[in-house]
């Protein structure tokens, strides 16, 4: 946060001396297009070509894993993420001058299915690209992503569709984190969140029809434990499987409620006139 203030101060000095640095405020809103998924706080980043939040076909970074497995962007959400979340990544000295970022929806309930967010005012500081990540809950490591979309310079209202990606960092077991009959293999830790199996957000206020008793989809429960397995690289999510058995079957998700098809979100960006 300190860096942000310094950046803002520098910008006003430059403006005062007739420099070229400019503020560019855009209005942004996001629509959740799914039937049964909610969105964790939305990380919006305006950036140069030096910054990449994620790249399909390559391994997820730890900051991305924090978002995709736990919806965590900043230290305040989970102190254990300090030093490896996007707040850290985007504010390290070598990157701080290459981006402007905001996390929208912190401290508020997740964005419910089939809902449009409030309007966010976002200062892009004239960086050319816009990226966004937000976790789909309840899932293991699904996120809706926008990867380096070029911000239009012409005034107008623009919409862009977002697909659901799989971070590739956690097997899609589709086991509810509310379960107490299953723990992480080896550690005995409770399910859900970063670096543990199970679906974070299983108990979020919008989550309906999350069941119990599933035996596991991408990886199976064995002796009351789940391994923390991973698929590999970032890729397009194959969709959740689900089933119709709330107390058994393979998945704790409901196939009639929680499945989706791309796109899962629509971003509206309003570039104001001069």
């Amino acid at each position: 946060m300190k860096n942000k203030i310094i950046t803002a101060a520098l910008a006003s000095i430059l403006l005062g001396s007739g420099g070229a640095a400019m503020a560019q405020e855009v209005t942004v809103r996001i629509t959740n297009l799914t039937q049964g998924m909610s969105f964790t706080p939305r990380l919006l980043v305006a950036h140069s070509e030096q910054i990449d939040l994620f790249e399909a076909g390559t391994p997820a970074t730890r900051p991305l894993a924090w978002v995709a497995e736990g919806g965590v962007i900043v230290d305040d959400q989970n102190p254990a993420s300090a030093g490896s979340n996007f707040q850290y990544f985007l504010e390290t000295p070598e990157r701080a001058d290459e981006n402007a970022w905001r996390a929208f929806g912190l401290g508020a309930p997740p964005l419910p299915p089939a809902t449009t967010s409030a309007d966010y005012t976002f200062d892009t500081e004239d960086f050319p690209y816009l990226s966004l990540v937000t976790m789909l809950i309840p899932t293991n490591d699904a996120f809706a992503g926008l990867d380096a979309w070029r911000i239009p310079t012409e005034p107008g209202t623009y919409t862009v569709n977002l697909n659901a990606y799989d971070a590739g960092t956690e097997a899609n077991d589709e086991i509810s984190a509310l379960r107490t009959d299953v723990v992480e293999a080896g550690t005995g830790d409770a399910l859900g969140g970063y670096a543990v199996p199970g679906m974070a957000g299983s108990g979020n206020p919008n989550a309906t029809d999350v069941g119990v008793g599933g035996t596991g989809v991408g990886i199976q429960v064995s002796g009351g434990t789940l391994e923390d397995a991973a698929e590999g690289n970032v890729h397009i999510h194959r969709n959740v499987l689900g089933d119709t058995d709330p107390t058994g079957g393979v998945s704790d998700l409901d196939s009639r409620v929680h499945r989706w098809l791309n796109p899962v979100a629509r971003l509206t960006v309003i570039v104001p006139g001069v």
């Binding site: 790249e55 399909a56 076909g57 989809v217 590999g232 970032v234 890729h235 397009i236 194959r238 791309n262």
Partner: protein, 249 residues
């Protein structure tokens, strides 16, 4: 139609040449102002990303070509060349087809499949600058662990790209319509099954190219097919591929 278009282009070109010739004979050669050197070739870098979890993409058939060639038409029956690729992952016949069409400008020549969740090699494609006013991009590659699914681009117009400009295409998934989606191990090639590739028999009820409906798999006990050799990991949602093209010269 293709022949007619090519012919009228030639006629127009001949007319321009005639006009130029008459012009230059009656005046001294113009002195050109100093400026950037005009290159004789346009150079593009192209890469293919596999966005799926467990579907290898067969060695991609990727062509830059002038208009007049199409690897397929939505709603029409697939050519045998497309069938050979979509059922067996073999691009040979498509390469022959586009070469014989007389429209080929440059071909992507990496013979390796693009593995799941990975970015294939970046390949340079060069075309003569006098073809720069009509450039199309076609790409076709099989989702190997299926009966006849493929992804790609169908003669997309990439004319007029500036040096340094990149375009990224997210590619949907088609069904060639040439082989029933039995999802039997014996009918699907690739590392997971090693089954049959191309078979000239067309046993799908509707022998026309359309978007793929997705695989059924045996993953769901309720809506799945217990006889399917495909599992949860073989499922996919669109887009299944991404193609990035950058003009570098």
């Amino acid at each position: 139609m293709k022949a007619l278009n090519r012919f009228s282009t030639l006629v127009i070109a001949a007319g321009l040449l005639t006009a130029c010739g008459g012009d230059s004979s009656s005046s001294s050669p113009p002195v050109l102002p100093p400026g950037p050197v005009v290159s004789e070739t346009l150079s593009f870098e192209l890469s293919v990303t596999n966005l799926t979890l467990a579907q290898p993409l067969s060695p991609p058939a990727v062509f830059l070509h002038s208009s007049g060639y199409g690897a397929f038409v939505d709603g029409d029956s697939a050519s045998v060349a497309l069938e050979v690729l979509a059922e067996g992952g073999d691009r040979t016949d498509l390469v022959t087809e586009v070469t014989n069409s007389g429209t080929l400008l440059a071909s992507y020549d990496d013979a390796n499949p693009v593995g799941p969740m990975s970015i294939g090699p970046t390949v340079t494609l060069e075309i003569p600058s006098d073809e720069a006013d009509d450039v199309r991009l076609t790409a076709v590659t099989m989702l190997v662990h299926t009966n006849d699914a493929f992804t790609g681009l169908n003669a997309v117009d990439v004319t007029g790209m500036a040096v340094g400009e990149s375009r990224v295409f997210s590619t949907p998934t088609w069904d060639a319509g040439t082989e029933a989606n039995s999802e039997n191990a014996a009918s699907m090639p690739g590392p997971d099954f090693g089954g049959e590739g191309f078979n000239p028999t067309r046993d799908e009820a509707i022998d026309r190219v359309r978007f793929h409906q997705g695989v059924v798999t045996s993953a769901s006990l309720e809506s799945g097919d217990p006889n399917s050799a495909l599992g949860d990991q073989h499922r996919f949602d669109n887009p299944t591929g991404r193609i990035r093209i950058t003009r570098v010269q």
